[in-house]
């Protein structure tokens, strides 16, 4: 049974349909990519899944419970890291716990426990502008983790990083999400990234955006070193290219 799903989601802005009949599911522990060209409606879909926007029709379900338009149930990381400049790293990261009514000292304690696993120990009392790009991203990811039921929606989490930091963060995220039992849906423009990280990939195309194809990658995670030249990788990439129509 699926942990998180949406059914027949539609959304228009000013009479213009942006996404149509989107249905997708996430099983416990899955890492699923959502691939699509710019403007196809990926962010629109995600803000509906996160409950900050309402669909015109369709519904969003978490463990069978209807959470359409209800925020705060799953973690959502926007396209920018959006660490608040006036809070320290520790206070930024523990913010979701405080918003849920946890005592500040307890929230800080919980956050401190995970700082090391997220490669942030020693940065607790620094302000965001004092962190590197990779650290900011990890801090935003840790904050996202604290904001929801181990279901995590990431809008282009790695796209602003340089290649080296990106692949380092990929490996790290695979590790952390396995250890912590996270279920992740992430948006990307980058086919190689989608192929490296995902158990499954949804491809969105068209105006309004629709799910055109989905595709499963069977190679185990983390992928073997020669995965990028394997038969499966090349075949999957061909399928993605065909689906996107480039």
């Amino acid at each position: 049974m699926s942990l998180f799903r949406c059914e027949q989601v539609n959304k228009s802005y000013q009479g213009q349909p942006v996404i149509r009949d989107i249905t997708l599911t996430l099983a416990q522990g899955e890492l699923v990519g959502l691939l699509g060209a710019s403007g196809v409606g990926k962010t629109t879909l995600m803000s509906i899944l996160a409950g900050v926007d309402r669909p015109d029709s369709g519904r969003v379900l978490l463990k069978g419970e209807d959470i359409t338009g209800v925020a705060g149930r799953v973690g959502y990381m926007l396209q920018k890291d959006l660490l608040l400049p006036f809070k320290t790293t520790l206070d930024n990261v523990s913010l979701p716990l405080i918003l849920k009514g946890m005592k500040k000292s307890k929230a800080r304690e919980q956050a401190t426990e995970l700082m090391e696993r997220f490669g942030l120990s020693g940065s607790e009392n620094k302000y965001p502008h004092q962190l590197s790009g990779g650290m900011r991203q990890r801090a935003a990811l840790l904050r996202t983790h604290f904001s929801g039921n181990r279901v995590i929606l990431l809008d282009e989490p790695f796209s602003a990083l340089d290649a080296l930091t990106k692949s380092e963060l990929h490996r790290w995220y695979l590790d952390v999400s396995a250890q912590m039992g996270l279920t992740t849906l992430f948006i990307t423009h980058d086919m190689d990234e989608a192929l490296t990280l995902s158990d499954r990939i949804y491809v969105m195309t068209g105006i309004p955006g629709e799910i055109q194809t989905q595709l499963a990658i069977s190679a185990p995670r983390p992928r073997p070193a020669d995965f990028a030249v394997s038969q499966e990788f090349l075949q999957a990439k061909r399928q993605l290219l065909d689906a996107i129509g480039r």
Binding site: L78, P85, F86, K87, L99
Partner: protein
Amino acid sequence: MIKKFQNIKSKASSLSLLLMLLAVWQLVCSLELVPPFLLPSPVSVVRAFAADFVPIMGHAVVSLTEAFAGLSLGVAGAFMLAVLMDRSNYLYRALYPIMLITQTVPTVALAPLLVLWMGYGAAPKIVLVFLVCFFPVAVGLLDGFREADPDAIVLLRSMGARESQIFLHLKLPGALPRLFSGLRIAVSYAIVGAVIAEWLGGSSGLGVYMTRVRKSYAFDKMFAIIFFVSGLSILLMRLTAWLEKKMTPWARQGDGKES
């Protein structure tokens, strides 16, 4: 580091310029280039200040009390109005243009009217200070609230934040730098506002003292009190700057290894 050094250097050079000006002034007076009753020498100004020190302090307490009362009320009122206007788009659209226009009105020009309406007590002084402080603080706060990143608001909503939590965790801290730049203007107006209102009548306060020494053509005392009032304003602005530094630690320069 370099910046600090330059800071010290610029402070040192403005201090030496100031000392030089004082020396020239003293020289002009000692050589009696200007009649002493028109331009008292720095030394006699200091002497006049020392001679009247106790009464001046008494007047200062009165003026400062009025200034603080008006300032506190002004900031409190500005805060409430800014919160309301941030909450309600209708209020915002209706009031914001008016607030900007009132900023161009020289509020101190209202002082005579206030005295006529409210008499010679503390009330017209406090009201004038209130008026001069209210608008810069309200506009600063409101601009600060409105500057909050819409995406950050979406993020906090996605974490299930209520409006009041969005205000507390995002809008308010984000508006602090704006609040303080409004406050810096407000405190410098506050003292001057109180003094000007006192010119127009009353029994005590630095403005009353100024009127008295003016009527007796005591130029040395005039100069003493002018310097004293400017000194008070500078002190209050410094205090505000210090408070800002305390309350916005994230705005500090450096990589966090210094502090």
